[in-house]
């Protein structure tokens, strides 16, 4: 058996093909694992908040810790005026985290290793933050592109650079998550393939690497979800408070 390291990223449909007005809406393995991740989040939060005891059980502890973690993150980076956006950032963070973590299980599929998924998530953040900025400040939101104390001669150039820098936000947000997840999983598969091909004699070294890489990947999976959420908070802060 030849092990292709990119084979794990293949999307195939489960069940019948659904076509709606020329758009393929079939249920795929990617959708299946998104549903699994979302269901895991919901069930953990449901069982964690079901029995509210003074001395928390483990699952209640996890729920409360994740709440305080995200609440503190929002407070530190975006200030107290971003409190109403807690549900948005919390669901974004937990969804990305669980997609990454479910992808670490053997035989599973990593949803966040596809750029279209991460790009849609980043676009939702980008578009909603832009709308929020215009709704809150009106056309004064465009002042974001005009830094203070710039000579008028340089202004056209600076404005173009600022606009490019603003438009690069969803790209950098999505590419970061996608590239990290895909590179990590490919590397794991390549080392796994080495174990098979080197056999009993030489396979122990790549096996050790595989174990170490799995640990690293779990760290990266958490870190990327954290970075995704914290950058959303920073962009929110820009839209709400409007100054550099």
């Amino acid at each position: 058996m030849v092990t292709n390291p990119m084979h794990q990223f293949e999307v195939y449909k489960i069940g019948p093909e659904i076509n709606l007005g020329g758009i393929n809406l079939s249920f795929t393995n990617a959708s299946l694992f998104m549903v699994i991740s979302a269901m895991l989040v919901i069930s953990i939060l449901f069982f964690g908040t079901k029995k509210k005891s003074l001395i928390p059980s483990k699952i209640q502890l996890i729920t409360e810790m994740s709440y305080t973690f995200v609440a503190k993150m929002i407070n530190d980076t975006a200030g107290s005026s971003a409190k109403p956006f807690f549900p948005f950032i919390f669901s974004l963070f937990t969804f990305v985290l669980f997609c990454n973590m479910v992808g670490m299980l053997p035989y599973s599929f990593t949803v966040t290793s596809h750029i279209i998924v991460t790009f849609v998530l980043a676009s939702i953040v980008f578009i909603s933050v832009t709308i929020l900025g215009f709704a809150k400040h009106g056309f004064r939101y465009l002042e974001l592109f005009v830094p203070k104390g710039v000579p008028i001669v340089l202004l056209p150039l600076i404005i173009i650079i600022e606009i490019i820098s603003y438009l690069s936000r969803p790209i950098s947000l999505s590419v970061r998550l996608f590239a990290n997840m895909m590179a990590g999983h490919t590397m794991l598969k390549v080392f796994g393939g080495f174990v098979i091909s080197l056999g009993l004699l030489g396979g122990w070294l790549p096996l050790g690497f595989s174990v170490a890489l799995t640990g690293l990947e779990i760290l990266v999976a958490f870190l990327q979800a954290y970075v995704f959420a914290i950058l959303t908070c920073i962009y929110l802060n820009d839209a709400l408070n409007l100054h550099h």
């Binding site: 003074l54 001395i55 150039l157 173009i160 650079i161 600022e162 490019i164 820098s165 438009l167 690069s168 936000r169 790209i171 950098s172 590419v175 970061r176 590239a179 990290n180 760290l219 958490f222 870190l223 990327q224 954290y226 970075v227 914290i230 950058l231 550099h244």
Partner: protein, 94 residues
């Protein structure tokens, strides 16, 4: 309520232990790794966006190689600006 009292004394002991352990460890390894990953893509993304804008405008106005070159360099400038800002933000926190 005897149960609660016992737990509170146990909590105190554990808290003291955690305090002792965190004194030597700065505990910011994961956070700084996140920042490093953040900066690396920041630079690339702006260059990509700048070049894409230049390409589109070139197709639109029919000025094939000029605008894409111009916007490529603007993208580089925007990327450096982004990295500079991210680094400045880190400096402020320290």
């Amino acid at each position: 309520m005897k149960d609660l009292k016992e737990i509170s004394t146990r909590l105190e002991i554990v808290k003291k232990k955690i305090k002792k352990n965190t004194k030597n460890d700065d505990g910011s390894n994961a956070a700084s790794l996140g920042k490093a990953l953040k900066i690396s893509t920041e630079l690339v993304a702006s260059v990509v966006v700048g070049s894409a804008i230049g390409f589109l405008l070139d197709n639109w106005f029919g000025t094939k190689p000029i605008l894409i070159i111009l916007f490529f360099f603007m993208g580089v400038a925007a990327g450096i600006l982004n990295v500079f800002r991210a680094a400045k933000k880190m400096n402020k926190k320290l």
